[in-house]
């Protein structure tokens, strides 16, 4: 080892799973540092002797790294080397180090080391107990907005980028027999067993390599370092085709019926931006037949005075930094523990050649393998004691230790002070039960292990290892094996040969239930004892919440914000519950339980969105003529998912100019509309006609073959929801059309009635929306145009209004319908969509002499409004029935079958006299166009609230009539013809209009009957 470690003052000369041959450079708060491949950002910071990694949220206290994994509350960084690649709130303990990584702290002014806000925190902190904001900032009322802006400025950790994300995230749907969460000893054993049995296995782990707790321990398996066993298992697993191994992958959510989500980091462990368009992160959506949770446990710190000083760490984290990363995060260690397990940290520290000042054990008489090992090494052990307070300004410099009583809640002797720069604590282990809660199972308290374990669940879920409170490696491996065997048995697969590796024989003495170390002062006056670091929740705060009557643990959490941080209380929740329980004089299980919700750790929005963003956010549906519309300069309107041509401006034409031109050309000669998006449903069967009679409000019994008819479709409530023309193709064969937006709904409407209410009717429905291209030529010259493209007789005598005929148009077999939505002579030409563009182009070829003009949906709206034709969805809103629309002609009350909507439209409220009815509206000033959505009133001078009588639904400038035309609802409007109505607008204008017939043009229908 010849590398220059001088800058990495805390880096050990050897050891760890880092690659010292691969040095990496990174930037932290503007300064360059070195680390090694295999480091996390946190281990590299510690290696470089960086103590302060953040400032606390409320009090601006300096904070250091306390943990080594997902439970870390303090080391929350802003990462990103460019504006577009900024990531807020990256947990340094989970971010792999890469060359060029740029990180900075998220709080602190002017900088994190010298934060002037901390003075505010120190002075004002006393006035900021939990919920203080509920008690103040109320007076004077007008000041709240000012107060709030300051609160908001202080809030938040990192920041969002200002530029769009250059990275790509995608998703993959996975299916497996066994999903194993966690690749520690239990998970690896389970995975190996299931894989050998031939099961389809997915095994995921949040860390960059498999091995879990074994990666940071010094224990042996089969008398070899555990790492060798891991390597063997990983190698064997990678040989199975049906095993998917996912390191760098957090299982974040466990949903009903064994559906799990995994966020796989594909490139963000080695690059700030995914190289060469690679996928940055992949979200796996897994459906598993069985799930084995082998998620391990998080060590709990103990709660004592100033426990947030940098240098205060969780014991196992210290071991992890030593063993896995070759980093000793200090020189002189005091270890405080309530259990044997944590002794390993002192042993590791000692074995790394550093000074263990003392082990402070709250128990009177600790005994066990590790305790003996410490004694053998001559480490001083202070039994029956606790660290009551840490001292120092920006890092621990000394600790105060006091003897405790048997139950650890009273100080029973004098306080001694010892110099130390690192204080590691352990209050035992909390099983990582998060995923087990996601589908509603309530965790249960286990007094033996002093933690919550997974509760009963409806999911096909098994658990193995530390999640069960099983901590010895021997038993953890056994549980991994047996969980896999249980899963295999359920799956009907045979157990394979699987021998357990031999693990170290370790005896551990009983742990003590200890959470909160008493201080010589009462909690309220003692130095701050933090429970939830990220939200600055203290033991005093929890006690205050209980005193104020917040007795449910959920109230305590909400009042203090405990557990609401980005770590979701992984370190603090149990300690907080224990403190509340003690305050309320009840047990922890009596106080409640702790429920975790997805996500286990935060998940990038981009990954959840996947590729369903940008161009792929939602399908764009196109007709066969779309390319032509684009070429001819069309503007498009979104109608459902369809892109419909809206209007076709020419050169510098304004929208209104284009509409005027399109409208006049159509009424004066001939226009053409791409109507392909209309829903089309082929209906066949001997009961088709009967069925139509039941779902439409009008009569269908006598519609002859070759004829078309308009129909209204209502819900059971009698309210119109769709309309369209249905044509009789043959005695048992119809073609129904629907609105563009309503097509899917209408088809399911027909299906649900057929399948669930009237299965005896012999009828089938098939969507042919996409099959037919539909082009409507409309205008006085439309017949002449059609005649140029067909040999068939399309004269009035041969083909009357509302007739349809099969014929050949432009050489293509077509079905031509003489129906009209413009009130002009119109032909709707339908051809198989593969030939739509051909026919469309031929129409233009032959239509030039008639000035054939393409028109879009807007002109279509104007032309139909001139005729008083409704558009379902614009002139209806789900609260109007056919009579409200003045369309009693489309309702056949005498049909033998009580059609859908008939009963509904006869309810008391539906037959009331003053219902809003659709009428025409003629502005007194013909040049004024009423805004759609304007609300009509009878007395514009009435005080607010002004009684409203109905709104304008459709309103346009009619170039043909050289005036505005409009339709709208008016209470009792059909009986108010000729009366005045006023439309007060937001800009202060009041537009006066006269109620009239909605048919503004050609009331006798002479133009379409030619």
């Amino acid at each position: 080892m010849t590398q220059d470690l001088s800058k990495q003052s805390n880096r050990l000369q050897d050891g760890g799973r880092i690659d010292r041959s691969k040095p990496l450079t990174f930037t932290y708060n503007g300064k360059q540092y070195k680390g090694f491949e295999g480091d996390t950002l946190a281990s590299a910071l510690l290696a470089n002797g960086v103590d302060i990694v953040g400032r606390s949220f409320k009090y601006s206290r300096p904070r250091g790294i306390v943990a080594a994994g997902a439970e870390e509350p303090n080391a929350i960084m802003q990462v990103g080397s460019t504006e577009a690649t900024q990531i807020p709130n990256v947990r340094a303990t989970q971010q792999s180090l890469y060359n060029g990584l740029v990180a900075s702290t998220t709080n602190g002014w002017p900088n994190v080391d010298t934060d002037l806000m901390s003075w505010v925190g120190k002075v004002g902190g006393k006035m900021m107990p939990p919920g203080f904001y509920y008690k103040t900032f109320m007076y004077p009322k007008s000041m709240w907005e000012t107060y709030e802006s300051y609160i908001r400025k202080a809030a938040g950790l990192g920041r969002a980028p200002k530029e769009s994300d250059p990275d790509i995230y995608d998703k993959m749907n996975q299916h497996c027999d066994v999903m194993i969460v966690g690749a520690g000893p239990a998970g690896l054993m389970a995975g190996l067993t299931a894989a050998r049995a031939g099961a389809r296995v997915i095994i995921a782990d949040e860390q960059n390599e498999f091995g879990g707790s074994l990666l940071s321990s010094t224990e042996t398996l089969n008398s070899k370092p555990a790492a060798e066993w891991i390597a063997e298992v990983v190698e064997e697993l990678s040989g199975f085709d049906d095993v998917l191994m996912l390191p760098n992958s957090q299982v974040n959510g466990y949903h009903d019926h064994n559906f799990l989500t995994i966020q796989q980091h594909c490139t963000d462990q080695f690059a700030d931006r995914a190289p060469n368009g690679q996928i940055a992160q992949r979200l796996h959506r897994v459906r598993a037949k069985w799930v084995i949770l082998a998620t391990g446990a998080h060590e709990r710190p103990l709660v004592y005075g100033n426990n947030d000083l940098p240098g205060c760490m969780v014991a196992n984290a210290v071991s992890t930094y030593l063993n896995r990363y070759g980093v000793a995060p200090g020189k002189d260690l005091v270890l405080m523990t309530s259990n044997d397990n944590a002794y390993r940290t002192a042993l590791d520290w000692h074995d790394a050649g550093r000074n263990v000042v003392a082990i402070v054990d709250s128990r009177k008489n600790p005994q066990g393998t590790f305790v003996e090992a410490a004694r053998e090494r001559g480490i001083s052990i202070l039994v029956g004691s606790g660290v009551i307070e840490a001292h120092g300004s920006k890092r621990v410099s000394s600790v105060s230790i006091a003897p405790l009583n048997e139950t650890g809640d009273v100080i029973v002797g004098s306080v001694v002070k010892m110099a130390a720069d690192t204080l590691a604590t352990s209050g035992g282990w909390s099983p990582v039960i998060h995923l087990s809660c996601h589908t509603g199972a309530r965790p249960v308290w286990n007094d033996d292990i002093l933690g919550f374990t997974p509760g009963a669940t409806a999911q096909k879920q098994l658990t193995a290892g530390a999640i069960n409170g099983t901590f010895s490696t021997v038993q953890v491996l056994e549980e991994g094996l047996s969980a896999a065997c249980d899963a295999l048995a359920h799956l009907g697969l045979d157990k394979p040969d699987a021998a357990l590796p031999e693990a170290d024989d370790i005896e551990e003495g009983k742990a003590m239930a200890l959470f909160h170390i008493p201080h010589t002062k009462p909690t309220s006056k003692a130095p701050k004892q933090f429970v939830d670091y990220q939200n600055d929740v203290t033991a005093a705060g929890i006690e205050l919440a209980c005193r104020e009557g917040f007795e449910s643990i959920e109230h305590v959490k909400r009042y203090t914000a405990m557990g609401f941080g980005t770590d979701q209380g992984k370190l603090g929740n149990i300690n907080g519950m224990a403190i509340a329980a003690k305050m309320l004089k009840q047990t922890i299980p009596e106080t409640g339980t702790t429920i975790f919700r997805p996500n286990y750790t935060p998940v990038t929005f981009g990954a959840i969105a996947g590729r369903d963003c940008g161009e792929l956010f939602d399908p764009k549906r196109y007709t066969a003529m779309h390319a032509w519309h684009v070429e001819h300069g069309a503007k498009f309107e979104d109608v459902g998912q369809w892109k419909r041509a809206w209007y076709y401006p020419q050169s510098n034409e304004s929208m209104q100019d284009a509409l005027n031109r399109e409208c006049l050309a159509t009424r004066e000669s001939v226009g053409i509309l791409d109507a392909s998006t209309l829903g089309k449903i082929d209906i066949q069967g001997k009961d088709a006609r009967e069925f139509l009679g039941r779902v439409y409000s009008n009569a269908w019994a006598k519609l002859p073959v070759g004829k078309c008819r308009y129909g209204l479709m209502c819900g059971e409530d009698g309210m119109v929801f769709d309309d369209g023309v249905t044509s009789c193709l043959a005695e048992n064969h119809f073609l129904m059309t629907t609105t563009t937006g309503g097509a899917a709904h209408v088809l399911s409407w027909l299906e649900i009635y057929h399948q669930t209410e009237w299965p005896e009717l012999e009828v089938y429905f098939t969507s042919v929306t996409d099959h037919w291209s539909t082009m409507t030529i409309s205008g006085p010259n439309s017949r002449k145009l059609l005649e140029k493209l067909t040999d068939y007789d399309v004269s009035k005598e041969s083909m009357a209004f509302m007739d349809w005929k099969p014929m050949t148009v432009a050489g293509v077999p077509a079905r031509v319908f003489r129906i009209s939505f413009t009130g002009e002579l119109s032909f709707e030409i339908n051809v198989q969509a593969n030939y739509g563009l051909h026919v469309w182009k031929e129409l233009f070829e032959k239509g030039a002499e008639f000035n054939l003009t393409p028109y879009g949906t807007e002109t279509m709206h104007i032309l139909r409004a001139e005729k008083g034709f409704i558009i379902a969805g614009q002139d209806t809103d789900g609260s109007v029935h056919p009579f409200d629309l003045g369309m009693s002609w489309a309702v056949a009350m005498k049909k033998p079958f009580s059609f859908i909507g008939k009963r509904g439209m006869q309810r008391e409220d539906c037959v009331r006299a003053d219902r809003k009815q659709l009428v025409g509206l003629k502005t007194i000033d013909p040049n004024v166009v009423l805004p759609e959505g304007a609300q009509g009133v009878l007395d514009p001078k009435a005080p607010i609230p002004v009684p409203m009588v109905g709104h304008v639904t459709s309103s346009y400038w009619s170039a043909n009539l050289k005036r505005s035309v409009a339709m709208g609802f008016v209470k009792g409007g059909l009986d108010k013809m000729g009366e005045k109505i006023f439309y007060p607008l937001a800009d202060g204008r009041v537009i006066e209009a006269e109620i009239c017939s909605a048919v503004f043009l050609d009331p006798k229908g002479e133009r379409q009957n030619v």
Binding site: N173, H175, R200, Q278, Y764, S773, G811, P813, L837, H838
Partner: protein, 226 residues
């Protein structure tokens, strides 16, 4: 057969209407991906990659709706040259039919998709209407549908990004057909070989699905086949 003349359009009109829908051969049909000019991508684009894409365009596709009695099943078999696959999620293909190459995909207990060459669709329709008694419906959907053949070493990976169905060979053997979600649209997926799938998609969604497949295939390399 009336299919070949251009002036008579109605093929059958007793209780149902069957109209000829194809023009004379000199009028070229345009498939839903016509605008993408796949032919030149095939010519100039990459020749190697993990996912291969081919639009099997302008085929004849028909939706058959029926709850077939034994007699009807027999008649359908004689008309198509192959028996309807009655088992859910199964399909059959034959090239021994008088109708040429015929594939039939199970869609639901009373629905099948029939795939033939384009010029056979009308013939099948008219035969059915001539010969098949009882309640059924047969609808030509050729213009509203196209077929994507996707294949290659990474085709399953690409599909896993697109659809939630389990594509593992043990669950999805060759010949299995499912109608399912595909991205934010839908598709009927049939496994034609270990590494080859047929996607039957709706015309108006074809461009979206083509964009999706290009995107999902990017990391594997996409080869367009003419």
């Amino acid at each position: 057969m009336s299919d070949v003349t251009s002036d008579v359009t109605v093929v059958a009109r007793d209780t149902k209407l069957v109209t000829k829908q194809l023009p004379a051969a000199d009028i070229m049909g345009e498939s839903p991906l016509h605008h993408a000019d796949l032919a030149s991508i095939a010519e100039h684009g990459p020749k190697e990659g993990g996912v291969h894409f081919h639009e099997r365009k302008l085929m004849g596709l028909l939706t058959l709706r029926c709850l077939p009695s034994l007699e009807q099943q027999e008649m359908i078999k004689s008309l198509l040259g192959v028996a309807l696959p009655m088992q859910p999620l199964t399909s059959v293909t034959t090239n021994e039919s008088s109708m040429g190459n015929v594939s039939v995909r199970w869609v639901s207990p009373d629905e099948w998709l029939i795939i033939v060459e384009a010029d056979k669709a009308c013939g099948i329709e008219s035969h059915f209407h001539d010969k098949l008694m009882g309640h059924f419906s047969l609808v030509n959907i050729s213009g509203g549908t196209t077929i994507f053949d996707v294949s290659g070493d990474d085709v399953v990976e690409m599909l896993k990004k697109s659809t939630p169905v389990d594509l593992h060979a043990s669950e999805f053997p060759v010949g299995k057909v499912v109608s399912t979600v595909f991205a934010k649209s839908g598709a009927m997926i049939c496994r034609l070989a270990d590494d080859k799938f047929e996607l039957v998609v709706r015309r108006s969604f074809a461009d979206y699905l083509w964009l999706w497949i290009q995107d999902a295939s990017r990391e594997y390399g996409l080869v367009v086949k003419a």
